[in-house]
Amino acid sequence: MPESSRKLNQSNALLRVEGVTKSFGRLRALSDVSFSVRRGEILGLIGPNGAGKTTLFECLAGVLPADGGALSSVERQVNPSERSSLLFYMPDGIAPWPSQSVRWALDFTVGFFGGSAELREEVIHSLDLLSLLNSPIGTLSKGQRKRALLAIALLTPQPVLLADEPFDGLDLRQTRDVAQVLRKHAAAGRTLFLSIHQIADAARICDRFVLLSGGRVCGEGTIEELSASAGGKTSGLEEVFLALT
């Protein structure tokens, strides 16, 4: 990456992740993971199964203790108690408050997390949740639950949203619709950091990418920047990914 671009990147960076490491016993899940998150972008965290994507998100959100590393904003280092006001993490495969209705979960998100009441209706309509509002979360199908979780995530007030596998369980049309919704929120100023293992989905929505493999960052940048890092002979994200990991 050229020096000028790097300086620009640094000035536009909202968050800087530096040297995050995490081990489970002898297994090293994350090794010295470092990258930047820019204001208002959709950053894709891509990597194969077991690359450490979920572990990285959980360490960043503070729901899993990291062994080392730091998260800093433009001005200063972010301590653990400040993370809750800066970023919100929506895990994959959970069914929170399974006996409660979707309507109640959205109300709870607005009330408990201080989410946006104005966005509530728009999120409900854009994610096609109107017919599911009275259904208990535990009774929803995988795709329906994913949309409900995304609605909860989008209603939270933090400027950075970390979503683990936001398209998992969605069909093609829903994936396209959800991608549009996410783009709209990013355009409104929210920074999205999405963990996606389907590279085609990631290529469709993300502005930049962090490639993670075996707990290490193998590349960071736009497709063009990554392609250049890979020697410039590849153009698609899939090929770049294969070349760099």
Binding site: E58, A61, G62, V63, L64, P65, P80, S81, R83, S84, S85, F88, Y89, M90, P91, G93, I94, A95, P96, W97, P98, S99, Q100, S101, W104, D107, F108, V110, G111, F112, F113, G114, A117, R120, E121, I124, P136, G138, I152
Partner: protein, 444 residues
């Protein structure tokens, strides 16, 4: 579409926990079961009370023994103890461990609210759930009143405080177990293991005496027994509150899933040590209140006035084995009452065996030695009257004259428990079942 009413985040959490309780099967099972449990205890107690009072025969002639506290309330409320040991832990584990299972913990943990506040919301709702369950014994109290039975409010207050503290201990234990373990079934095993552990302490105390006996005084079973006899002990209440606070703090420490396990272990050890220190300090408090109508935990007022005049240090050495029934008599009938009037009394037990059966031939076995300011006397009597006689003799203070007016005459009541069976075995479960359907439907 209406927007949610604004309110503080903690109230949102309390509302959420309450809704989770309302849809919890474990709580509804507790509610359904506690009716028949209280019913069977109450009906059996009222029948026995009626027979002793002369129903279907002649009165046993022991009117002064007929105290509703011992005859009716202790057995009736013992159903609550059973529910607190075997049912309430599962309600607590469901409410605390459910968030971990569903993934809600990962969301709620991202709120800046301290984990202690989150645990406090759960504990408050669980306590409220227990108070709802206490409607069953309240129905029993109402029936007793309808039958024409005597109610002495301070006795009921004592019993209720005992069962609330016992429930608090169970809730704190269940919350700790659910926070520290990954799966609710593991939490259930841990909780029941601790409960069985306290029973083992009581069993060992009965055999070994000594330090075990002192520890057994503070088990939930022993605590409830004291309250069921109308004795409010400040040391016991403070220790129970310390353990409840310690358990909830421990639960909060383990709810911080983003904190390294090593740090959580260190904090838990520090918390445990602090709780033990505070509990040890609380055990030195001697303030007690006898709330029983018949003063079953106290000597007569005249005796207490006379005993308070004794300034010299009293030391009692009883050569009785832990399992010897005379030792239990001496402790229950005399020494526990004596400690309440003379906090400085020093009691020591000496024995070579635990059952005492094979010590009977030992020359000093069965002797109770009294040392009051250097004056010594030996007696083998273990009744309250015998102990008082020896102490008066040593102190030179004349025993007070007996006052027949202050003697408790009892409250005989020879009635059958009419309507109780249909109420507790039929109406209660049906009512709870209807409530289950209506409330679960409205919440979901």
């Amino acid at each position: 579409m209406r927007s949610p009413k604004p309110k503080p985040a903690w109230l949102w959490l309390v509302e959420k926990e309450w809704r989770e309780l309302l849809v919890s099967r474990a709580w509804w099972v507790l509610l359904i079961a506690i009716g028949p449990l209280v019913g069977v205890s109450f009906i059996s107690a009222v029948r026995t009370y009626a027979e002793v009072s002369g129903l279907g025969g002649t009165a046993a002639g022991v009117g002064e023994a007929l105290s509703p506290l011992v005859g009716v309330w202790a057995p009736t409320f013992s159903a609550c103890e059973l529910a607190a040991v075997f049912l309430l832990p599962f309600v607590g584990i469901r409410l605390v461990g459910g968030d971990r299972q569903s993934g809600a913990l990962k969301l709620e943990a991202q709120h800046q609210m301290p984990a202690v506040a989150r645990v406090a919301a759960k504990a408050l709702v669980l306590l409220a759930g227990w108070v709802v369950a206490l409607i069953a014994p309240i129905v029993a109290v109402s029936l007793w009143k309808i039958y024409g039975g005597n109610l002495y409010a301070p006795e009921l207050v004592s019993v209720a405080i005992g069962h609330l503290l016992n429930a608090g201990l169970t809730i704190a234990l269940a919350a700790t177990a659910a926070s520290m373990t990954e799966h609710p079934s593991t939490a259930a095993i841990v909780t029941l293991s601790v409960t069985v552990g306290t029973w083992i302490i009581s069993f060992v105390a009965a055999v070994q005496g000594g330090i075990w006996e002192r520890m057994a005084n503070y088990t939930p079973t022993a605590m409830v027994a004291e309250f069921q006899h109308g004795l409010l002990r400040l040391d016991m209440m403070l220790i129970a509150l310390t353990l409840i606070a310690g358990g909830l703090a421990l639960s909060a420490a383990w709810m911080r899933i983003g904190v390294a396990v090593r740090r959580r272990v260190g904090e838990s050890l520090a918390l445990g040590a602090l709780a033990v220190l505070v509990a040890a300090a609380c055990s030195r408090v001697n303030t007690t209140w006898d709330l029983s109508e018949n003063r079953m935990n106290s000597f007569s007022e005249a005796d207490e006035q006379a005993l308070r005049k004794i300034q010299a240090h009293l030391r009692i050495e009883a050569h009785l084995a832990p399992e010897d029934p005379r030792r239990a008599d001496l402790e229950r009938q005399a020494l526990s009452k004596l400690r309440r009037v003379m906090p400085d009394v020093q009691v020591e037990y000496a024995s070579a065996t635990s059952i005492g059966l094979f010590e009977q031939t030992s020359p000093h076995y069965g002797e109770v030695w009294y040392d009051l300011g250097g004056k010594k006397e030996m007696s083998r009597i273990t009744t309250a009257e015998g102990v008082l006689e020896t102490i008066y003799s040593l102190s030179g203070i004349p025993p007070p004259a007996e006052n027949d007016e202050s003697v408790f005459r009892g409250h005989p009541l020879a009635v059958r428990p009419k309507g109780a069976a249909i109420l507790f075995y039929g109406i209660w479960p049906a009512f709870v079942m209807i409530a289950v359907i209506l409330i679960r439907r409205s919440v979901a």
